[in-house]
Structure formats: structure tokens, C-alpha cells
Amino acid sequence: MSWLDTLTEDTARAVARRTARRGLLGSLGALLLGAAGLPLLPVARGASPKPAGAGAADKTQDETQCEYWRHCAIDGYLCGCCGGSASACPPGTEQSAVTWVGTCHNPADGLDYVISYNDCCGKGTCGRCLCNRNERDTPIYIPFESNDYDWCSGSSKANIPYHCSTARIVAPAK
């Protein structure tokens, strides 16, 4: 089962060690107020179906994979599997205004990036490519560092259901 994927775990932790999301959060706190977690299954790592013809492609560069580099702290259904992409919501949904952020390392260019995990809202749950990675995740009494909230229900676009989660690049991490 996916939660036995220790390779993914170890890789993800290595990324977490190389980054410093807490410090970043401090400086970006005002901008990212509302930094959101996502609904969650706690242990669904690497559960994504393989895209057609992917073969042995690098999963860290495939936005339909849990191992995709931007997904280092995501928790939810991947919008790249739901008609959207890592940065765009699927047709007919709305992107939540608030979100929570992570700092993820892109092995392709060797840089760290601030990633904003905006939820896409307004339709029933997508239900495809569930992914949960918990680097630096905190309990929900620290909301902006926890991936256990549904931010569709918590933003100005509140009151609309959760569909899937994006992983937008905000900026390179300094």
C-alpha cells in the first residue's frame, strides 16, 4: 500500500530538511494570512494512477503524481488529475483565496520554491489522485502550518465544497 512507500517518505523528508518553511512563513505571514491546508487523507502517499504512457518517467516532474516536487506538503486530490493542473483549477470550479504554503525543492533546477496549496471549490469532490505528504505539518491548532483544513469552507468563497488542490508557485524561496 502507498503508505509503505518509504522511499517517498525519505525523499520528502530530505527536502524538508533542506528547506526552512517556518522562517519563510514568518516573513510572508501577512501576505499569506489564511495559508491553507487541505482536506486530507492522512496516509495516501503515492496513490496516484500513472498517466498513460508515463512508464518510468520522473515522478517528481509529473503533476499527476503524489511525488511531484510541488506536492511536498499537499493533502487532497490533485487538480492535475481532475481537469486542471498544478496551478489551475478544473473547469467550473473556483480557486480559494486563502491557502497554506509549503517550501518545496525542485530537483530539476535545484531551487526551492514557496508553494501555495490553493483549493479548488464549488463542485463535488474530484476523487482522483489522492495525495498526502506531511512535511512540517502541524496540528490544526496551528492552522497555517496544518494541512488538515478544507479552505473552501474557510475563505471569502466559503460555503462551497472542496473539489481538488493546486500547488501554485508563489516565488523562489530566498
Partner: protein, 374 residues
């Protein structure tokens, strides 16, 4: 005689079965068996379809189900056993439209809706936690966690069946009852917000404690369990942080560890979604354990370790039939231990004293989250 003739003879001699009356509907006995368990399910692939499923742990029988709307967390059982309170969210067009939040009231015998209480449409949609909704110790007020992302607690008066108040809890989450008119919330800096209510359900006092949890070093999970005047919160790394309810207020107790130095070196740690359970009569604490590194605090485990709360010594290691992220115990003198896993629909039942696996119940929900026992 031929076989056909024999069958015809037998049919002629037999008394036919009586016709079944039309319109029969099963009811549940009252009071509830202590060996029943409510398995809550937020049905993650279809979040508008939340369910609370009632199973008899003795027989493994599926007794009935409540349908509980979008982003469901848990139900709360009235202290007299007659009603089930369920904080729920609905949309006027199924998955869209105007949002309505209510506390639905269900009759415990018929599992039918018998009323509802309108509440502000602010109920937090988060990974289900027991602290999402709790009754005060006397059962009078129902407390519901709100997150918009402003944090507050909705107070519902179950006696008058009406919304009583909304208490702001800035920077603090969930509710942990501490008495007939009091609860606390956990704040992001590791302090506790100690809230006392008046008899109308409004906040009389709100006091912030000293920091109880070392959030930066080893945060305590929000998945606390209570025995009497003590709440138990375990950290990601396995350190138990008791919180004592005293006449002078909330006081941190002396921390203790679920794991020895050797076990820590072997990466044993607690994990899961509802990872702790307590049996008050036996004075035992149950914890799901697994071997893993940092950031595996939500992982399931294949063992439950059992501790004597008087001595803090481990008295049992239970090997589970299936990995579990959630456990609960019944409250009676011959307690059952229930275990479930959000990625499975199998409910396992054990003898909570011996750890013996009694039975597995299949097809219990879609993504079972947290369990409640009467």
C-alpha cells in the same frame, strides 16, 4: 418414490410460512448497548454524503446509519441516551448553492430526524477530530468549532434546542470540556484558552494559560483523550503531556513517555487520526504505534500499546489484525477495543483487556474517521 414425488409429499405436509406484514421497520433497543460503536465517515470521495454508522461490536451486526451532510466530523450522544446531536452542513443545490449549518437531532431508537437547530454557517471543515464538537459535562451545551478562518465556538443549548452564543477563540482551536460549564481550546503557541460559560451559554470568563505544549520542538497532537480531571495529549514523538483540571485552573501535569530510549531508537512512535483511547475503569490508555521517522504522525500502526495510567508502565502490546489509524474503547467493565483505518472499510473488534481479536466487520463505510462509543 421418485425424488420429485417425495418433494411434493413433503410440501403437502409442511405448514407454509406466514405472510410478512407490510411496512415493518426495525427499531433499536434502548438503552444502547455499551458494545455498540458509531463509526463516523466523512466519505472523502463524496464529501456531501457524510455518514455515521452504528455497529454492534458483540455480533458485528450493522445496526443502522445516519446521513449527515457535507464535511461531517462526528455526532454527540445525549447523556440520557435518547437523542443524537449531529453538527451538519448542507448546500441548497447539493454540491453548490446556499450553505446551511444545523445541529440535527436524531431519535436513538428510530435513527430518524426529529428536529434541528440552526447555527451560524461557520462550522470548521477539517480532518475529523473529537474536539470538533463536544458536550459540556452536564450535557446541557453543545460546543462546535468554527473556522472561517476566524476561530470561534458555537454554543447550542440542548435544553431549549436553540443557538445560545458564539464565543470568539482567536488563535485557538477545538473544544475540550472540563466541567459542566467550561472547556478549553488549544492555542497556536501551545497555551490553552480556558473558557467558562454562564447558565445561558455565553462566555463568563476566558483565560489564557501558560504554554503547555512545546510546539516548535515536539508539538502535541490535538487528538487528546480524557479521564476524569486529566486530559492526555501525546506529542508527535511520543511524549505524553497531561493537562490537569484543578480548582485553580488548568495546570500542566508531569510529562511521561510512551516509548523507552531503546524503542525511540527503533523509531517507535504513536500515529493516526484517533490514535489514543482511554478506559476509565481500568485506568488504561491505548495508543496506536508504528515505526517511522518524523512526519509520520498520521501514519497507521499495526500495534496498540496499553499503559497503566497510575504507573505509566506499558502492560500490553496488542498486534492488530489490520493497520489502524483510529481506535476507541467501550466504557463498560468488559470493554471492547475497536480499530479502523481511513483507507479501509473493515472494522476490527478486540477484547480490550486481553487484546484478543474477536471479529472483523466488512463494508463499514468508505473512509472511516473517528469512532464514538455510548
Amino acid at each position: 418414490m421418485t425424488a420429485l414425488a417425495l418433494a411434493a409429499f413433503a410440501a403437502a405436509a409442511a405448514t407454509p410460512l406466514p405472510p410478512d406484514p407490510q411496512g415493518q421497520v426495525a427499531t433499536l433497543p434502548a438503552p444502547a448497548s455499551p458494545h455498540w460503536v458509531w463509526v463516523n465517515d466523512f466519505v472523502f470521495p463524496h464529501m456531501t454524503d457524510g455518514q455515521a454508522i452504528l455497529v454492534d461490536g458483540d455480533s458485528g451486526r450493522f445496526l443502522g446509519v445516519l446521513y449527515t451532510g457535507f464535511g461531517f466530523s462526528r455526532e454527540n450522544l445525549s447523556h440520557d441516551g435518547r437523542l443524537i446531536f449531529s453538527p451538519e452542513t448542507y448546500f441548497s443545490r447539493g454540491t453548490r448553492g446556499t450553505r446551511t449549518d444545523v445541529v440535527s437531532l436524531y431519535d436513538s431508537v428510530h435513527l430518524s430526524a426529529v428536529g434541528e437547530i440552526g447555527i451560524p454557517p461557520k462550522r470548521s471543515a477539517n480532518m475529523p477530530m473529537m474536539g470538533d464538537s463536544e458536550l459540556t459535562d452536564d450535557g446541557r451545551f453543545l460546543l462546535i468549532y468554527n473556522f472561517t478562518p476566524a476561530q470561534s465556538v458555537t454554543v447550542v443549548d440542548t435544553a431549549s434546542r436553540s443557538f445560545a452564543s458564539e464565543i470568539e477563540t482567536p488563535g485557538c482551536a477545538l473544544e475540550y470540556p472540563t466541567g459542566p460549564r467550561s472547556f478549553f481550546s488549544i492555542c497556536s503557541d501551545g497555551a490553552l484558552l480556558d473558557v467558562h460559560l454562564d447558565d445561558t451559554g455565553h462566555a463568563a470568563t476566558r483565560t489564557r494559560s501558560v504554554r503547555v505544549f512545546d510546539v516548535p520542538r515536539d508539538p502535541a497532537t490535538e487528538k487528546g483523550v480524557r479521564r476524569g480531571s486529566t486530559w492526555y495529549f501525546v506529542s508527535f514523538g511520543g511524549t505524553m503531556y497531561p493537562v490537569e483540571i484543578t480548582p485553580k485552573g488548568l495546570m500542566p501535569g508531569k510529562p511521561w513517555s510512551l516509548v523507552s530510549a531503546a524503542e525511540r531508537a527503533q523509531k517507535w512512535r504513536p500515529g493516526g487520526l484517533q490514535q489514543l483511547a482511554v478506559h476509565a475503569g481500568l485506568n488504561r490508555l491505548y495508543s496506536i504505534m508504528h515505526q517511522g521517522g518524523p512526519e509520520t504522525h498520521k501514519d497507521p500502526g499495526k500495534e496498540v500499546w496499553v499503559y497503566d495510567l497510575a504507573t505509566h508502565r506499558r502492560i500490553e502490546r496488542i498486534t492488530l489484525a489490520h493497520p489502524a489509524a483510529s481506535i476507541q474503547v467501550s466504557h463498560d467493565a468488559q470493554p471492547l477495543l475497536f480499530s479502523a483505518f481511513i483507507e479501509s472499510s473493515t472494522l476490527d473488534v478486540y477484547d480490550a483487556r486481553s487484546g484478543r481479536h474477536l471479529r472483523s466487520v466488512e463494508n463499514v463505510g468508505t473512509t472511516p474517521t473517528i469512532m464514538v462509543t455510548p
